[in-house]
């Protein structure tokens, strides 16, 4: 993996200093920029691990029908409208009519009618599986869900589940009724249709010594606590419909049926693979020919909120087929994007690709790339960092390397952490604001130049004269990108990866008047521009170091 820059999200921790990057455990808190969000209220970076996610809608990925959340539970998270999934390759099944009767001579006697002939069955276009292999056919091409419903309901698994539900429901009702007060306003502690919340509220109402009882919205001091705990432990015994040892005969898998099947096995393809089996709600039999078409499970669209202030960061559009967002507060719109590149690697790649096209071989190029373009211990390499400003105002950026505590691993070994020294420009530099391409008046042939520059770099010739030997500092400012150069000096005994934390602080002028200091809103229409500063940590990864003792092998490759 080439050199890259990852951004640190503090994830609501109190210290904003990120962990040292060479530790393996610290990789959880560094993310690429495209995965981060930015909360405007708290002025903080949020990542996928710290945002709170809620479902904003359910839809079927096949027919793109938005399912209202009430029907989601009723349909058991599946599409109710003729969308089925092939059990073999998990593609969508389509309803096709059977072939017309074949005269046997290979020629079509009558034109095939457009409606087609019954019986209809489900057919997968991709792997040509069809439902007649498991014996499912339909008389009509529409309303398949209803036709299959009868079949599904009579399966022993769902019958068993219904029986379990019937068994537990009076118990839950009884315990929740006794724990809740008779005040009718307590809508949330009575008649819980969701057994999870019912169990949770029953647990909350449990009698714990030393702690006051949790009675929501009731008068305190109800004395029915003892009744509750006594009630909870008593439950009528449950008798299952089928004896579990014999249940495997009905296709639920496990037991003697599987053993017999394995004995008769001829080819591996007869056994259903794990990905084919695990989307089923219940455990099914192991044989491939027993796999039945499934209703397509629904997908959900999420909206994400900031954990601290509950501000919505991401809100997708309601329509299932649109991939855009109503609210989209992503970090890429607020934080400068940083990319890092090693110029000597790009030159080497250019050399190698030029040589490879001449020679027409590919195999040696890969070896050379690692060695000649790599980072060898004991040398000093420059690197370029390009910062792109997404805001419409210019920003002043200041970079600083976080001091890394390099600890030897002990036991007399050499220090495992690679000792290297980073020098980057520490004076603040500005990056121009983002504007449309035609607004950049001084770079009219900017894009044309890019191709030439690229070619020049790839063929090894530097466009700028070699006299410009400055490697540390601002190298180039172009449109809304500023390229700064830094240097990394590797020690002789360095090994491992070059990773260092870098603090990026940037100030920008914001036109928003802060509402907190408006004791009385002054009638001046001009918003007071103020400079705000935001700082975030990043980790810059320049790649792995090739240790010194491997250099003798490299000498053979070096031209």
């Amino acid at each position: 993996m080439g050199p890259n820059v990852l951004y640190h999200c503090p994830c609501l921790s109190t210290s904003s200093v990120p962990p040292p990057p060479h530790q393996i455990s610290s990789s959880y808190s560094f993310h690429p920029l495209h995965e981060l969000f930015f909360c405007e209220e708290c002025d903080a970076v949020r990542c996928n691990r710290c945002v709170s996610v809620e479902v904003s809608g359910y839809y079927c990925p096949n027919c793109l029908f938005e399912v209202p959340s009430a029907s989601v539970r009723a349909e058991k998270n599946r599409c109710a409208r003729n969308c089925f999934m092939c059990p073999n390759c998990r593609n969508t099944l389509s309803v096709v009519p059977s072939d017309p009767p074949d005269a046997g001579d290979g020629r079509l006697l009558a034109p095939i009618s457009t409606v087609g002939e019954p019986p209809f069955f489900l057919y997968c276009n991709h792997c040509r599986w069809d439902s007649s292999e498991v014996g499912i056919t339909f008389e009509k091409p529409t309303g398949l869900a209803a036709q299959l419903q009868k079949l599904e309901d009579s399966a022993p698994d769902s019958l068993e589940f219904d029986r379990l539900k019937e068994h537990f429901e009076p118990i839950i009702r009884a315990s929740s009724l006794s724990s809740s007060s008779t005040v009718p306003s307590t809508s949330h502690s009575r008649h819980h249709s969701n057994p999870i919340t019912a169990a949770a509220s029953a647990a909350l109402a449990r009698d714990i010594p030393g702690v006051g009882k949790y009675t929501p919205l009731t008068r305190s001091g109800r004395s029915s606590g003892k009744d509750r705990s006594a009630n909870k432990d008593e439950m009528p015994e449950y008798k299952s419909r089928l004896d579990i040892t014999k249940a495997s005969a009905y296709g639920s898998g496990g037991g003697d049926v599987d053993v017999d099947f394995m004995r008769r096995l001829e080819t591996v393809s007869e056994v259903a693979s794990l990905d084919q089996r695990w989307t089923y709600s219940w455990s099914t039999s192991l044989e491939t020919r027993d796999l039945k078409p499934l209703r397509i499970p629904l997908h959900s669209k999420h909206s994400k909120r900031c954990p601290a202030c509950a501000h919505i960061l991401i809100k997708p559009e309601q329509k299932a087929q649109s991939v855009r967002y109503k609210i989209k507060l992503v970090a890429a719109n607020y934080l400068p994007a940083i990319t890092v590149a090693l110029p000597h690697q790009i030159e080497m790649l250019g050399h190698i690709s030029a040589e490879a096209t001449k020679r027409g071989t590919k195999s040696t190029a890969e070896d050379d790339r690692d060695t000649r373009g790599g980072l060898q211990a004991g040398k000093t390499y420059p690197f370029h960092m390009a910062l792109t400003n997404p805001l419409y105002d210019p920003i002043q950026v200041r970079l600083s390397v976080q001091r890394m505590h390099v600890a030897p691993s002990g036991e007399g070994e050499k220090a495992r952490r690679p000792p290297f020294a980073i020098s980057i420009p520490t004076t603040p530099f500005s990056v121009a604001p983002f504007a449309e391409a035609w607004e950049y008046e001084d770079d009219e042939d900017m894009f044309a130049l890019d191709d030439d520059e690229l070619e020049a770099r790839l063929s090894g010739r530097e466009k700028e004269p070699k006299a410009k030997s400055k490697t540390v500092g601002v190298l180039e400012k172009r449109a809304n990108v500023t390229v700064v150069g830094g240097e990394v000096a590797l020690g002789k005994e360095a090994r491992g990866e070059i990773k260092f934390n870098m603090l990026v602080a940037y100030t920008y002028r914001s036109d928003d008047p802060t509402p907190s200091e408006g004791h009385d809103i002054s009638p001046s229409k001009k918003a007071v521009p103020e400079t705000k500063t935001f700082a975030f940590y990043t980790v810059v990864d320049l790649g792995a170091i090739i240790p010194k003792d491997e250099d003798s092998r490299l000498e053979a490759y070096n031209v």
Binding site: V96, D99, L108, I112, Y123, R128, W129, D130, S269
Partner: protein, 177 residues
């Protein structure tokens, strides 16, 4: 290497567009359709294409062996596919971007799925009704259900193309030498 001598035998009912790259000894049967930008290279040995075949854009049919490459009737070579199989039956479908090596002999009524690579190390023969699908080119056998409808569809496809292609593309007529 001996220069390739072009010898095209194109049936009068076949529709071969002008922009097709043909090389070598190629025979195209009646009713076959070759879209523009297709490539048929009979580099080392001749290629014989049956009737009713549809060869779409960017399809590459190459014969690098001395023996004749026989392609049966009513096959469909979709966009971007690359086929080198020495013998192909009838009613096969080579889906988009599929690749078939010269070690495989294809039977009839097979489907090579999209982006599948059939490149076994040693000589292999695909029996009839084999479906190759998935990223790892798994195979399974088709029961043959719906084959009449598919055959009908293939013929209608070919008929439609025979009508429409000449209206919008220049055709290559006769033998080129």
């Amino acid at each position: 290497m001996a220069p390739i001598r072009d010898k095209f035998t194109i049936h009068s009912k076949a529709v071969v567009c002008q922009d097709v790259e043909l090389k070598g000894d190629i025979t195209i049967g009646s009713g076959s359709i070759v879209h523009p930008k297709a490539t048929i290279f009979a580099v080392a040995g001749p290629i014989v294409i049956g009737s009713g075949c549809i060869i779409e854009e960017s399809a590459v049919i190459v014969n690098r062996r001395r023996e004749v490459m026989r392609i049966g009737d009513d096959n469909l070579f979709e966009i971007g596919c690359r086929v080198e199989a020495p013998s192909i039956g009838f009613f096969n479908t080579f889906s988009t971007r599929s690749r078939v090596h010269h070690t495989v002999r294809i039977g009839s009524l097979c489907v090579i799925g999209a982006n599948c690579v059939l490149a076994p190390a040693e000589d292999d023969a695909l029996p009839d009704y084999t479906i190759v699908y998935g990223p790892s080119a798994e195979r399974r056998t088709w029961t043959g259900k719906g084959k009449i409808q598919e055959a009908d569809l293939r013929r209608k496809h070919a008929e439609y193309l025979r009508e429409m292609l000449p209206k919008f593309n220049r055709l290559r007529r006769g033998d080129g030498t």
